[in-house]
Amino acid sequence: MRAVGIGAIAVLMAFALRSAALSGPEQEQASPVTASDDLPAKVGRVIIRRPKSRPAITIGTDPKTGEPVTANCSTCHSNRVSDRTTNSADQLDEFHQGMAMAHGGSTCVTCHDAAADSLRLADGRLLPYEDSMQLCGQCHGPQLRDWRHGAHGGMAGYWDLTKGDRIRNHCTVCHDPHAPAIEQVMPAPPPNDRFLNSSAGNQDHD
């Protein structure tokens, strides 16, 4: 069962990873229990599956090894100034091609400071990628509040932190930052109860 559960999470993670240009592999980091760490008995940690600190973009393939060659944002953007109005990959001549962008009216620079290899808050302050939840929370305050109270986002492990750790999803585990709406999936198979969907008596399901 866990395989299926994790499989489902993996499907959703794939959404987040789809635009390879900006997302890197997830990494797990421990963070202290915030809401209730004053309670002495709680020994378990809440582990949040945060994004990697800094993404990279694929700029080509190594002709010898066939491995992708990646570059940091600043490699290009230290001298190529980002266009403040760009809000879709279609408007670009090169790089970031094919990236879906469906996130309200946001443009690239709403969240990114490419020259600094960093995220950027609305007030211009830079923000490391692993703290991106704070960036999301600028607009999605209710979701951030609910997440903080365990009422948004998937989790696994222990409800009782005195007995063990809890693993929590980060925004980007489920939501592609560039197109955050949850995509359609095929559900697990429906129940196959006795006579569900048969006209009675005509069929014996046993």
Binding site: D193, R194, F195, L196, S199, A200, G201, D204, D206
Partner: protein
């Protein structure tokens, strides 16, 4: 079955000495068993046929116990079916027999008094059938002892099912006692002692009402099943019981008169058909009242009624049943209007058979099954009994008829004075 009778201690039993020797209750029971196994070729053929049907059902039930109730067509959506439908109906027949007891003992109707034993035997057979239907409905009949007070864990008074266990077995014991005692005394040629049966007869009247009330409470106490959750259910049960019980007994009496040489005046038939005339109308009025409430108000609580009468989401398995029931019951009610219907045996028999069939559907399939359709999550999963269910049901009917036949075989000669201690 008869070992359960505590009547060995009856003072009458100890007091009876004939031909210089004591003829105790145990010997009387042996004598009855001998009477019950002697008869004409027709009797043997009838009993062998019933035994065969019974054994086929016992075998099928054995398979059901071994391989699981997947042999039935019940499901997690319709979790009670033909068995509980028949159980409910037979509780009514058992209770309906009290319609002979009341005139016989409360109103001292002499003619009825001479026949009341028939009603009591019908009640006994019906209760045995009820117990049979409940037993075959259990997933784990091997654990029956969990239900026994003191041995198991008896969730009384919380569970209405424990009440039902008590009242049904109590009613059985009361009737076995009254029938056994009166037959014994009649057999000995002695006058029955009032204190040894009159209190039990009165108790049986109250008890008859209680068995059907409790059985109705079993269903109407469930808030999650709007089709059952109506205060009218218990009165409706009683009204229909007082149709189906007398209907069965009238036909039985006419058969006994025609084929078994039992002689009696028309009084009892008149009384019973008069009762039916009224109760069948009350029963129909109550059904109409339910139907009005459901359909006029509408809403999700009427979904079961919509399914029952017209079908729901294209599923209509019960629709022919329910209209048959309504049709036969109305025709029976009209036939019973015929003046002096008690003197017109064919009309009366047709009316009784129609009423019996009509109420068997209404109280059985028409009452139990639609409460589950749609399910509590409003899924429409239909139910039509499987072949195994029909076989087991037929087997319990055969078993009931066996008890009835044997009971009457013993009781009628004794009660009519043809078989006494003298006639050995």
């Amino acid at each position: 079955m008869t070992q359960t009778l505590p009547t060995d201690q009856d003072p009458g039993a100890a007091a009876s000495h004939h031909h210089g020797q004591r003829f105790g209750y145990g010997r009387f029971l042996l004598r009855m068993m001998r009477m019950a196994t002697d008869g004409s070729p027709l009797f043997y053929a009838w009993m062998i046929a019933l035994t065969a049907i019974w054994l086929v059902g016992v075998h099928t039930w054995g398979l059901q116990v071994r391989d699981g109730m997947a042999m039935t067509h019940m499901s997690d959506h319709v979790s009670w079916g033909l068995y509980i439908a028949n159980f409910t109906f037979m509780v009514g027949v058992a209770a309906g027999a009290v319609m002979m007891v009341i005139p016989a003992y409360l109103y001292h109707d002499r003619e009825m008094h001479d026949l009341v034993i028939i009603g009591e035997i019908v009640a006994i057979a019906a209760i045995f059938m009820c117990l049979g239907f409940v037993t075959v409905d259990l997933g784990r009949p091997d654990r029956f002892w969990h239900m026994m007070p003191f041995f198991g864990k008896f969730n009384w008074p919380g569970s209405m099912l424990t009440w039902d266990v008590l009242v049904l077995n109590g009613y059985l014991l009361i009737n076995l006692h009254v029938v056994g005692y009166l037959l014994y005394k009649r057999f000995l040629g002695e006058k029955p002692s009032q204190k040894w049966y009159v209190p039990f007869v009165y108790l049986s009247i109250i008890w008859a009402v209680s068995i059907h009330t409790v059985t109705a409470f079993l269903y109407c106490g469930l808030g999650g099943r709007p089709f059952w959750n109506t205060a009218l259910l218990a009165p409706r049960f009683l009204a229909s019981a007082f149709v189906s019980g007398p209907a069965f007994i009238i036909v039985l009496l006419l058969i006994a008169r025609r084929f078994a040489g039992v002689t009696f005046g028309n009084g009892p038939i008149k009384t019973l058909s008069s009762i039916m005339r009224v109760t069948i109308l009350i029963s129909l009025v109550m059904v109409a009242s339910e139907v009005f409430t459901h359909f006029y108000a509408g809403g999700s609580h009427s979904a079961s009624s919509r399914y029952l009468f017209f079908g729901l989401h294209g599923k209509t398995a019960l629709v022919p049943w329910t209209w048959t029931s309504i049709g036969t019951t109305i025709v029976a009610a009209i036939l019973l209007f015929r003046p002096k219907v008690h003197e017109h045996a064919p009309t009366l028999v047709i009316a009784c058979v129609l009423a019996f069939i009509g109420l068997w559907i209404e109280k059985g399939m028409g009452l139990i099954v639609p409460a589950f359709i749609p399910s509590t999550l409003h899924e429409v999963v239909e139910y039509v009994p499987s072949e195994a269910e029909w076989r087991i049901t037929a087997s319990i009917w055969a078993f009931g008829l066996m008890i009835l036949t044997l009971g009457l075989k013993v009781a009628l000669p004794i009660f009519s004075g043809r078989e006494t201690i003298q006639s050995r």
